[in-house]
């Protein structure tokens, strides 16, 4: 994207609560941001290392529960609970990375699904800790000094900061030997090994960073909705993330954010105009059209189009 285009986008994002003060629209923007972090996180694994994690909601849920429990039970500040939630999710990512060390493709997918299944079961059945299916109400809103970040405009800026941070980390990674090692693992593993890329090390590293980001999104979600229940582990969250990454353009920096924006705003927009059944149908048709006409995703398609336009 050109420098001017980027400046306009940044300006729009920074001033959004002023020109879009409607709380419902701000809510959609906040959810788009939280899903943006999730999509960036999944993209590190799916887009760069080429490994599909279908248990990604587990890291999101672990972040959400960790942050909720630390603030509710131990009365930690949000600003301590957030990094702790990130660290705990990262630890879970490390575990999965170690477990899946030698597994690729379908087997990797199975391990991640099973892991998410186990964590969800724990959240339902460990009543003393998680309150089971009833969930944890009353998760406190973050405060910053004397100010509460309970209002939607303030929370929007918090989420925006998280999106920027996650994007920055992804950008730096991708333009370094670490990101190249991820891609090498996706493109040709034996060749990567032959020039000294310790592929298992980098698979674990990708899982850790990815899980940490998902944990960040989970914490932000918990303190935004102020309620956490086993619903955070729903498979449909993972499916939504996968759709966002694939539709936006996996293995690109902007793709997951574009996908997150479209697939958060679109269902909301559809809900406003048509009934539930038609929503699902429209959603399905759009997905099929995207897969058929833009198989590599929206962002790569735009990039290819711009290359053709330039003489």
């Amino acid at each position: 994207m050109s420098g001017a285009g980027r400046a306009v986008l940044a300006g729009l994002a920074l001033t959004l609560p002023f020109w879009l003060p409607n709380p419902y629209f701000l809510h959609v923007a906040i959810m788009a941001g939280i899903f943006g972090v999730l999509a960036l996180s999944l993209n590190l694994l799916l887009g760069y290392t080429g490994q599909l994690s279908l248990g990604h909601a587990a890291f999101f849920g672990i972040g959400a529960y960790a942050s909720a429990l630390l603030t509710l039970r131990l009365e930690w500040s949000f600003w301590l609970a957030l990094p702790a939630a990130v660290a705990l999710a990262a630890l879970a990512g490390w575990l999965i990375g170690r477990l899946a060390l030698k597994l690729r493709g379908a087997y990797f997918v199975l391990v991640t699904i099973s892991f998410a299944g186990v964590v969800a079961l724990v959240s339902v059945n460990w009543m003393e800790l998680t309150n089971g299916p009833l969930g944890l109400p009353g998760v406190p809103a973050p405060t910053l000094g004397p100010w509460s970040l309970r209002g939607k405009p303030a929370y929007y800026y918090l989420v925006l900061a998280a999106v920027l941070l996650a994007s920055l980390v992804c950008r730096r990674l991708v333009h370094s030997r670490i990101g190249r090692a991820f891609v090498a693992l996706r493109e040709n593993e034996p060749l990567a090994e032959s020039v000294g890329v310790d592929v298992t090390h980098y698979l674990v590293l990708a899982a850790v960073v990815s899980a940490a980001m998902a944990g960040l999104a989970g914490s932000l979600y918990a303190h935004y909705t102020r309620f956490v229940s086993p619903e955070v582990f729903l498979f449909s969250y993972t499916v939504t993330m996968v759709i966002m990454v694939v539709a936006g353009g996996k293995g690109t920096l902007a793709g997951p954010l574009v996908g997150a924006l479209i697939f958060t705003v679109l269902p909301e927009a559809l809900r406003a105009v048509v009934s539930w059944q038609w929503q699902m149908l429209a959603y399905g048709v759009l997905l099929i059209l995207l897969v058929v006409f833009l198989p590599r995703g929206i962002v790569p398609a735009i990039a290819a189009w711009r290359v053709r336009q330039a003489p």
Binding site: V169, R172, L173, H175, S176, R177, I178, R180, A181, V183, A184, E187, N188, P190, L191, A192, E193, S194, V195, G196, V197, D198, V199, L205, V209
Partner: protein, 262 residues
Amino acid sequence: MARAAGTLTLAVRDLAVRFGGVAALAGVSFDVHPGTITSVIGPNGAGKTTAFNAITGYLAPTRGRIEYDGSPLTGLRPSAIAARGIVRTFQRTSVFPALTVADNVMIGLHLRGVAGLVDVTLRRRRLAAEESRLAREADGILDFVGLGRRRGERASELPYGEQRLVELAVALGARPRLLLLDEPGAGMTTAEKTTVTDLIYRIRDQATTVLLVEHDMRMVMSISDAVIVLNHGRVIAAGTPAAIQAHPDVIRAYLGSAGDRA
């Protein structure tokens, strides 16, 4: 480069590899001396690629020892062996297909960088310095193999001969002290083979030992300091090119039957 005698030698001792009932290697011993171009020849199925796979950690030998610079390589992962300075290419063309030629070489330079997660996320200057240093090294390597003008093209879109050069450039990125080339000239035109032969000389002159598997006898006999002949998983002869060409077993087992495919 002056090196003490006996160091940086690859020593293969009694190496055996079985695939089910097939003995791909049945107790092979040889040395590769530093600073040489050493070739391994033998008919198809003789066990040449299997030997490369065992030396570089891609498969675990059934029996035997492999030592480099006096310490064992057996049991190490391929990436750890690469870190010891031993890098191989593959018989079937192997590149990072979706990436540009320059990015292929940048991956090859993995061991030339040090940036870890902390540098990448928190030390912007250090990362930028490393990236520009690596990009310069990549340019140097691309010029060396003659792919400077191809740097921005996708590896998969290059013609076959140039893809093999990309592969070589990727391997050189790791700055090997010992480079194992598995049929680098296979399927190439005579002109391309001349280019590769010339490159192998220049690689050797940069203090890299070369272990070469090649079917083109003209190429092997002209550039090798030493030749090892494998047949049915055994070494049937080893020596200078002249000695090998005159060896009756070699003529019978290899040159006589399989013939010179050049």
